[in-house]
């Protein structure tokens, strides 16, 4: 029994196929990452699973309920933390939680205890009576994370949860999210285009490009697939043919005057690689990261840039209603 299961899930906007026949099986308590560049179809996939938009084709079930036919049941079982701020600035943090609890029909008897609990979980007890206008981006995210938990959802969707946040706040958020899955057994589905986020947080990762899943596994297994360390050489006239002949070398790629290749035990073979490559100006070797996996699978580097529109920027424009 999977918490989330999709079969051939597809979404088309006119001629554009945003999500193309996605099959997923996600187990309870997993932190599952959807990794890919902006516009790869991550948010669209999430929106379909959360019943915000109907699929064009295929099926999906969340917590045992079909997203098309039992939308309301699905919604009762999920929490969603959106990419953009989704709380009312003029209300206090606690009031925003109260609003959410009422909308989800949280039992009146437990409402105050629940709000205390989640506020404590994200360390916002001290600021709960401040209007959210005065919250920083990180505090706001934490409150929205807490809010997503108020009604004890089985599945929590986090859409780019740390977009535009500083490194320290990101670390904090990651530890809260980890605590959720270990302590509360919540299944967490997270979209991100940050490789480090996926590596640090996720049990399994699906790499999405152009609406398709190109790979799905644990971060470690994905990296092992590359079959070695990544070596990057800056060479004047690279002798690509000679490099390709080496037994332990795989996947030689040339771009922008640099040669990237994967080599088993690169440390031991580095001298030979350097000799064959030509006149090397600089060399760099590292254990593979998800970024290398992505590069290998899609042939293009993931764009480490602000998401669509920019979280903080939009927040500032919407400060006043």
């Amino acid at each position: 029994m999977f918490v989330i299961e999709t079969k051939g899930l597809t979404k088309k906007f006119g001629k554009l196929t945003a999500v193309n026949k996605i099959n997923l099986k996600i187990e309870e308590g997993e932190i599952f990452g959807l990794l890919g560049p902006n516009g790869a179809g991550k948010t669209t996939t999430l929106s379909m699973l959360a019943t915000l938009i109907p699929p064009t084709d295929g099926s999906a079930s969340v917590a045992g309920h079909d997203v098309r036919r039992q939308a309301s049941k699905v919604r009762q079982n999920i929490g969603f933390v959106f990419q953009d701020p989704s709380s009312d600035d003029l209300l206090t943090g606690r009031e925003n939680l109260y609003l959410h609890a009422m909308m989800y029909g949280v039992d009146m008897k437990n409402i105050n205890r629940k709000m205390d609990d989640v506020l404590k979980l994200v360390d916002l007890t001290d600021r709960q009576h401040d209007r959210m206008r005065g919250y920083s981006g990180g505090m706001r995210r934490r409150l929205e994370l807490a809010r997503g938990l108020l009604h004890d959802p089985k599945v929590l969707f986090l859409d780019e949860p740390t977009l535009g946040l500083d490194p320290q706040t990101r670390e904090h958020l990651w530890s809260y999210i980890k605590r959720l899955s270990t302590e509360k057994k919540v299944t967490v589905i997270i979209t991100t285009h940050y490789m480090d986020e996926a590596e640090r947080l996720c049990n399994r990762v699906a790499i999405i490009d152009h609406g398709r899943i190109v790979a799905l596994d644990t971060p470690n297994k994905l990296k092992e697939r590359l079959g070695g360390d990544v070596v990057r050489l800056v060479v004047k006239k690279p002798n690509v043919a000679a490099l390709k002949k080496l037994k332990y070398v795989k996947g030689v790629k040339v771009s922008d005057g640099a040669v990237t290749l994967t080599a088993k035990d690169a440390g031991r073979h580095l001298q030979e690689i350097l000799n064959k490559a030509g006149s090397v100006e600089s060399v760099e070797s590292h254990s593979p990261t998800l970024n290398d996996v992505f590069l290998h699978l899609t042939g293009s580097e993931i764009r480490e840039q602000e998401g669509e529109g920019g979280y903080l920027e939009r927040m500032m424009h919407s400060g006043n209603r």
Binding site: A50, T51, L52, I53, S72, K73, R75, Q76, I78, F80, F82, Q83, D84, P85, S86, S87, D88, L90, L91, E95, Y98, L99, H100, M102, M103, Y104, G105, R131, R314, M315, H317, S318, R321
Partner: protein
């Protein structure tokens, strides 16, 4: 049960925001007071109302019309707030909740109508204190009932426009094309009895005219132009129609 909780939650939010955003309340009162004091005195000093004016001064004559104008502007622009909600993800947070779209629509209408009713009661108090308007229990009740019907209708209209638009500028454009004809052709500023036929026919198809007519009749104690029963019936019909279209537009709204 969560539908009722949700209705309460949405109302709670609108009401809290209304109480906190004082500028909203103040600006909603400044405009009608300027109309009454400046326009009412200025134009009133140089015109005679004739037979249908029944010996009233112009300021008192337009007071009921200005009440309706306040409802009209305040209610229509209430729809602007859902565009603000859509621009951030607040609207998604509401739409992903296990609530029906009908509940969400009514929560909004109820919230807006509460805000508007408070504004109207303040204006009525000011009217009796400074503009020589005498209220009776009957005129208070009928005024509030008619104004509430107009409010619900126009808030629905604002929400319909808001649900279809994605930019505040677009909303403003559509709203100004709607609001000025509704206001100027409602008889808020002039008696409708002696109008030329072409103008009268515009006034007669404007639902707002029927609220102005009824409210003016009960507040000033003058006979109504269309008949009280017609006024009430038209406004109930208008409100039901706008609510129906409003719930439909919310069902098909996407973010």
């Amino acid at each position: 049960m969560s539908e009722i909780g949700g209705l309460y939650a949405l109302w709670y939010r609108e009401f809290k925001v209304f109480l906190r955003e004082r500028s909203r309340l103040i600006s909603s009162l400044v405009q009608p007071l300027m109309w009454l004091v400046i326009f009412g005195t200025g134009l009133g000093s140089s015109i005679e109302l004739g037979a249908s004016g029944a010996g009233l001064d112009y300021q008192q004559f337009i007071f009921p019309g200005i009440l309706c104008m306040t409802v009209l502007f305040g209610s229509l622009f209430f729809g602007l707030y859902i565009i603000m909600d859509k621009r951030v993800d607040f609207m998604k947070e509401v739409l992903v909740a296990p609530l029906s779209r009908v509940t969400i629509f009514f929560g909004k209408v109820l919230g807006g109508a509460t805000d508007g009713t408070i504004e109207i009661i303040i204006l009525m108090v000011l009217g009796s204190l400074f503009f020589g308007i005498h209220f009776t229990l009957y005129s208070i009740l009928i005024t509030i009932m008619m104004v509430a019907l107009l409010m619900v209708s126009i808030i629905s209209l604002g929400l319909i426009i808001g649900s279809m638009m994605s930019s505040p500028e677009g909303f403003g454009l559509v709203a100004s094309f709607i609001i000025f004809p509704l206001f100027f052709l409602s008889g808020a500023l002039f008696p409708v009895k002696n109008l030329p036929a072409w103008l009268y026919s515009f006034v007669a198809v404007n639902p707002v005219s029927y609220t102005v007519d009824a409210v003016r009749s009960v507040i000033l104690g003058i006979p109504s132009s269309f008949g009280m029963i017609t006024d009430v019936a038209v406004m109930i019909g208008f409100a039901v129609f706008m609510i129906a279209v409003g719930t439909w537009s919310f069902r098909r709204m996407s973010v």
